[in-house]
Structures are given as C-alpha cells and as structure tokens.
Amino acid sequence: MALSHRNYAKVRVVAPVGRLDHDNCEAFRNDLAPHLDACLREGQALIFDLSGLEYVSSAGLRCLMLAARQAASRSGRLVIASLQPLVAEIFQISRFNLVFDVFPTMREALASVSSEAVEAFERG
C-alpha cells in the first residue's frame, strides 16, 4: 500500500491508500516508523489522513493501536481524520472510534492539535 506524507507547519500528516490488512500491515508499520519517530522527536502530533483508505482489518487496526501506544509512551499524540464510510463503520463496530481521536475533516483534526497547522492548511 502507498503511504504518502505532507506537513502543515510542524504537524505531519500521513495518508495510507488502498487496503490495510494482515497481508501488508508489517510493511505499513515499517513505512510508518520514520514518520512516527520524527513526530515524537519534535513533540508534534501525527495525523492519519484516511480518506484514501478503502478497508482496514483487525491487523491494520492493531497497527494503528500499536502506533498510538508508542506515541503515548513518549507523550505524543495520534489523531485520525477523514474516514471513508466503510472504514468509519469498521471503526464504530470495533469501538476504535472510542479509543482514538477521530475527526470528520482534516481541518478539524489539525485544529485539535495546532493553530499554526490550521493556518498552513487554509493557506493551501
């Protein structure tokens, strides 16, 4: 699966595209590791833009949880934004919507972590 990234001010946004399941979750964790390390080093939140994620399995959700626990252990924060309807239902059924900060839009997710990031987002 593709994992692109972009920054708004100092906030990093990573965007997985496609399906995240037991076939590719190990590669996803490897791809994610440097982004997570960078954010935690700089004391910034990491935002997952899931607008391109078509499906996530239990293995994929566990990857997100492991990343969140890793962030929490270093006083970091992980935020989720822009779920597709199917993935939003999976979050609800798995109750991951109760353990993650989930926002319907990228703007709201950025606003929850940094006003500078929102300004950067609105400037385009």
Binding site: H22, D23, A59, L61, M65, I93, R95, V99
Partner: protein
C-alpha cells in the same frame, strides 16, 4: 450433527436480576400498546413473533459447556463450566437409569471451564463412564483440586463414575466411533486448546478463550487452516477489538471482528459468538450481534457467513 449450548457466558455465570425481569416485562407491555389477548396462546404468539429477542429471551447464563450430538449412544461435550449442571440433568433424564458414557473435551482448566464438574449428576451414578480429554498435563490435578477440602464437600475419589483422563496431542487427529477430533493450541494464559470435530460429513470448531493477533501471518494462516470449510465455528468474542488491542491486550480473549475475518478467510458457513462478557446485558450482546452481522455484510466476499450469538438453550442442526 446437533450442537446444543448449555453454557455460553465467559469468566463467570450470570443470571437476570429481578429488576431485569421487571424491565423486560414493562417494555413488553409498552410494545403491546394496549392490545388484548384472548388466550395464553395468542399472547405467546405475539411474544414469539413480534417482540425483539432481548424482551422474550436472555442470552444467559451458565459458563462454557457445549454439547455435540452425533447420533451415537455416547455423549460428547466441550468444557465443564456451570452449564455442566443442566447438561448432566439432561443426560440423566435421557438415560432413564441406564449408565451413560460421556466424552468431555477440555479447552483448559480455568475455573469457569471446570466449575460445573462437581455438579455434573452422571459423575455420581455407578456404571457411568466419563472420559475427560485434553492436552494439559494438569487436567486431572485441576479437577481433583477443586473438589479437595475446604473447597467442596465431596472429594473427587468419592465420585461413583469411572473417570478416565485421555491426553491428546495438538495437531493429531483422533478418531473414535462416529467422531474424529483434532486439537489446536491457542493463545491464552496457561494455553488453551480449540477442537475441530468431524462427524457425518459435518465440521464443528470449538474455539474459546483464544486471543488472536492476525498481523502475525503464520498464526493467521494456521487458524484459517484449522477453521477451513467448517459448518459451524463457536468463537470467543468476549471483548471489542479496541479492548483486546488496548486495555485488555494479552488477557487471552478475542473479538467479533476477528471471528468474522477468520471465518470469511476459511470459508466457514456459520459463526456463533460465544463466551460473552459477564457485564454485558442482553441488549449489549444483541448490539454486538447486530454490529457483527453488519460487518459481515460490509466485507462479504463470494459467499455469505451466517452470524449468531450463543445463548443457553440454543440448538443448531448441521
């Protein structure tokens, strides 16, 4: 093959409280909306056909005990949770004084899976044969310990039945009479074992007290192979996936989501959610069932997977 659920609750038995019964009754009266019933039969039909399951039933109940009826004269049962007490009464009634032969398959020896054995009526009947199968070395020790003073007044050695312990090896298939069984090791504190039963061309998987981490590809593939083409999978769905992945990680239990995924990958026909969390009331379990059916619908491949939630008294014919 008929599968009969005598105990379906995880960790410890639960019962409806007086307040629970009163609330169900009050909700049923509201649902009746002033309707008059001329007879008990008319009221029964209304309850059966028009009221939701949670108003007319309860999921129960006893801790793990699931019977597998194969048409053989012998009995086959998984685990001896508190459901073993009504199961024992069923055996005694059916035998009508004739001694029975009961084959027990133990997932593990945690208390909720053995607590019914001291109350298993056939154990007190001379001439009865009870064969207790399992993969743990400490199976006999655990059953003796729970009947040793000061925990129970009747010592194990005073039981009248002939009790044999049969050690099984994971991955090996044992054929006895009309049934073959293959155990599989599962992730749980002190290990647990799932069982694949095959009889009359039908396959039942009993897989409780098992935590899954499907990002481990080898583990996922091993369980898919174990579940492959089963007619029915009885699956530990005690917690939500979020709980299993966070505060209840390594507690040795699984979720409805993992149940659906494994069953879909293995081409299973029917998934039964089992080992319900004791703090979940009927409405909560029904909500989990509704969610699980929705997930199955969202992720369905070429063939559909039937999803049910186990309750004490449920019977499923395969």
């Amino acid at each position: 093959m008929r599968v009969r659920f005598w105990g379906t609750r995880g960790s410890m038995p639960v019962a409806l409280t007086a307040a629970d019964v009163r609330d169900k009754l009050a909700q049923a009266l509201v649902a009746a909306d002033g309707r008059r019933f001329e007879s008990f039969g008319a009221a029964y039909d209304f309850a059966q056909q028009e009221l939701p399951f949670t108003l007319t039933h309860t999921f129960g109940g006893h801790s793990s005990c699931v019977e597998l009826e194969t048409g053989s004269n012998e009995y086959f049962v998984c685990d001896m949770g508190s459901g073993a007490r009504p199961f024992g009464a069923h055996v005694l009634a059916r035998q009508g004084g004739r001694p029975a032969t009961v084959n027990v398959f133990m997932s593990h020896v945690h208390w909720d899976h053995i607590m019914g054995f001291p109350f298993f009526g056939p154990a007190y009947v001379p001439g009865t044969t009870i064969r207790i199968h399992g993969c743990h070395d400490i199976l006999e020790q655990a059953l003796r310990l729970q009947q040793a003073p000061p925990c129970f007044p009747v010592p194990f050695d005073q039981l009248a039945a002939k009790i044999e312990f049969v050690k099984l090896v994971p991955g090996e298939t044992y054929a006895g009479g009309s049934v073959s069984v293959t155990p599989k090791i599962q992730r749980h504190s002190g290990d647990s074992y799932g069982y694949r039963f095959e009889a009359g061309g039908k396959v039942l998987i009993y897989s409780t007290d098992s935590e899954h981490k499907l990002e481990n590809r080898g583990e996922a593939e091993a369980f898919v192979a174990f579940f492959r083409d089963a007619d029915l999978v009885v699956f530990d769905a005690m917690y939500s996936l979020a709980e299993v992945a966070s505060v209840k990680a390594d507690w040795g239990h699984s979720s409805n989501i993992v149940g659906v995924e494994l069953c879909q990958m293995a081409g299973v026909k029917h998934l039964v959610l089992f080992h319900h969390e004791p703090s979940s009331d009927d409405a909560a379990i029904e909500a989990v069932l509704r969610d699980t059916r929705r997930l199955e619908e969202l992720t369905r491949g070429a063939r559909s997977l039937r999803v049910s939630a186990a309750y004490d008294g449920l019977e499923i014919d395969l």
